[in-house]
Amino acid sequence: MSTQFLSPEKIKDTKPPVIGLKGRRIGLRIFATVIMIVYSVVTLFPFYALFIRSFVPTKESSELHLWLPEVQEVSVNQEIGNLAVFYNLDMKAFKIAMGIPETAYIPSRDKLVDVAEKYNLNIADIQQYFEGFYLYNGWNTLFRTSMNSQTFWRALTRTFIVTFFSLLLSIILSIMTGYGLAGLKRKDQMTVYNIYLLQMVIPIMLIILPQYQLFQWIYNLFPQYNVQGSAFRYSAQLIALILINIKGTALSTMIFTSAISGIPKDLEDSAMIDGASRIQYLRQILFPLLKVPIVSLVVIQLPAFYNQFLEPYVYLDPPNSTLLPFIQSAVGQFSTNFQVIYAGVFASVVPLVILYLVFRSYFVEGVMAGAIKG
């Protein structure tokens, strides 16, 4: 019996560890801080390296660069063909800037000095034209590139449009779904809810082929769709993309169903007694109460929509593409110029990262709220 209770000596014995616990807590804090700092550095490094590499010419890429490289200026003895092949020099722009007739043929083995001599140009002018050529080659080439009458900015705009409408409609439709399902009291509500939950276990690769087939059948009903480059074709493709984005997910349904179920039913009843319709109730009373779940859905879906690649890659014609398929095809074209590739990849990342950093507190809050639902 006596062993069951702590003897006075034993109580004394337990004291030192209590003090030790304090020391351990400090130790833990230091340990945790070190790990957090190391992990943060490792996590941020790829972003930084990507940025730096967008300024490193392919020629110098086998050296370690942790800061903007000190790149030599273009030598006047550089062959023009080299500049065109490895640095994607825009010959047309070069000729216009130098006052060389556009029809003039410049042999690729000609050096810059030869060109200056031939067309009676000032060497200093050429040097000025090529100032920073190597350093900014990636960015210049990226922003100048036009593939299938498609530029970086157009692709970015299209991405913004698709993302905006997808988010807006997805929120509206998901709230409506959540309101219709709220409570999950009836069998039909439960069935619908369970069907939405299936989304989580249906891999995208399983349905992408038949889904595309389905859209092809629908498109074939409209002869206008088969006119290449028509506005009808392009808008139909973008609508397909938006429909795929707004179709509702397990997460969106869970978030709003549980949020709306948590709002007291009395609120709806009193609104009804005051003569509000269900739509009025939804718009004027429910909507303002749903700020947290809306933020939650936005911060989870925004990166997903902005970074969508497979569906736009499959559904959109190249002249109609969003940002990532554009980057992918541009990258394919410049497969030897790594500077352009990394500039393109970095450029595709920047808009969202800026948004993220500006609204970071919403992201943290929303993700944690969403994860609890999940």
Partner: protein, 315 residues
């Protein structure tokens, strides 16, 4: 609280029932008006495709707008056991995918779980969360290109840095079999670290603090607390993370495209790439659909099972 016996017993008003059910019926109707718009889109784009595919599976349909389609019976289904060309594509891809899924699954714990435990012990740090979650802003495509940037032979920044620090002796080659197999899960794990951390952290935060305090008072060591208190109560989080990882990493695609899987790099040809090329590039649509179905239906059933289990544990 005895009910007085002399209280007049009120008979339930008979006509009330149909009236209520009428209200209920109108409620159901209006509920469906709210549910229908998204539900129709969902069913048409997610559920219907599964059934649309079925008749195509028994044909030799090559393209989406193939004018001539012949029935071939069960040939597509058995091809993976009999047809050499399909086996040569499918089996190596299956092997690579399974390795990828397993390694990717371990990264959930290496990154997500350990970071969540760290955050839980020292308290929630918003700034650190912001950084850990940041890679999720990267697209899969960018993640793949970041892998190339860091670990391409000769030019990889990560390679050059690790060489200089003396951590590695030989450069890692992202385009080699082992390079792809190990670096890719690491990059994907890094990208999803914040997401998995959020899942595990919310699991940890849902544990009643009484049980933890009790274990501390009883003198349980940290490991005992971990395995006896935390993990059993976090089971729903584990199952959720497992489901997400299983379904997500079997259809990993964007990262592979960045590694050149659709054309030059055979090491990055995982199953998703096989299905994609069969459907969109080499005119074996029906075969691609069948292979996808054969691969994913068992996975889907497993996913449903896990989901059921998770919900049972949660409520």
């Amino acid at each position: 609280m005895e009910v007085p016996a002399n209280l007049p017993t009120v008979q339930p008003i008979k006509p009330a029932k149909p009236k209520l059910s009428k209200m209920q019926r109108s409620r159901i109707r209006s509920d469906w008006a709210f549910i229908a718009p998204q539900f129709i889109i969902f069913v048409v784009l997610t559920i219907v495709p599964l059934f649309v595919a079925i008749p195509i599976l028994f044909t030799d349909k090559a393209q989406f707008n193939d004018p001539q389609v012949n029935p071939v019976g069960w040939k597509n289904f058995t091809a993976v056991f009999t047809e050499r060309s399909v086996q040569d594509d499918y089996l190596p891809a299956l092997q690579k995918t399974v390795i990828f899924v397993l390694l990717n699954y371990t990264t959930i714990y290496i990154f997500g779980l350990s970071l969540a435990l760290l955050m839980y012990e020292v308290g929630f740090k918003g700034g650190f969360f912001t950084i850990v979650y940041m890679p999720l802003m990267l697209s899969g495509l960018a993640t793949g290109y970041a892998a190339v940037m860091l670990f391409a032979q000769e030019t990889g920044t990560g390679n050059l840095l690790l060489m200089k620090a003396g951590i590695i002796k030989e450069q890692i080659n992202i385009y080699s079999a082992t390079g792809t197999a190990f670096i890719l899960p690491l990059m994907v794990g890094w990208r999803y670290a914040g997401y998995n951390m959020a899942i595990f952290l919310s699991g940890l935060l849902s544990i009643p603090t009484e049980t933890i305090e009790a274990s501390v008072v009883d003198g349980a060591s940290y490991w005992q607390r971990l395995f006896r208190i935390y993990f059993p109560q976090m089971l729903p989080s584990f199952i959720l993370a497992t489901t997400m990882c299983l379904i997500g990493s079997f259809s990993v695609f964007d990262e592979l495209v960045a590694l050149g899987a659709t054309y030059v790099n055979p090491e990055a040809k995982l199953l998703s790439i096989i299905f994609f090329t069969y459907g969109f590039q080499i005119d074996r649509l029906a075969m691609g659909m069948t292979l996808a179905l054969e691969t994913f239906v068992p996975l889907m059933l497993l996913g449903i099972l896990l989901q059921r289990l998770q919900r049972r544990l949660q409520y």
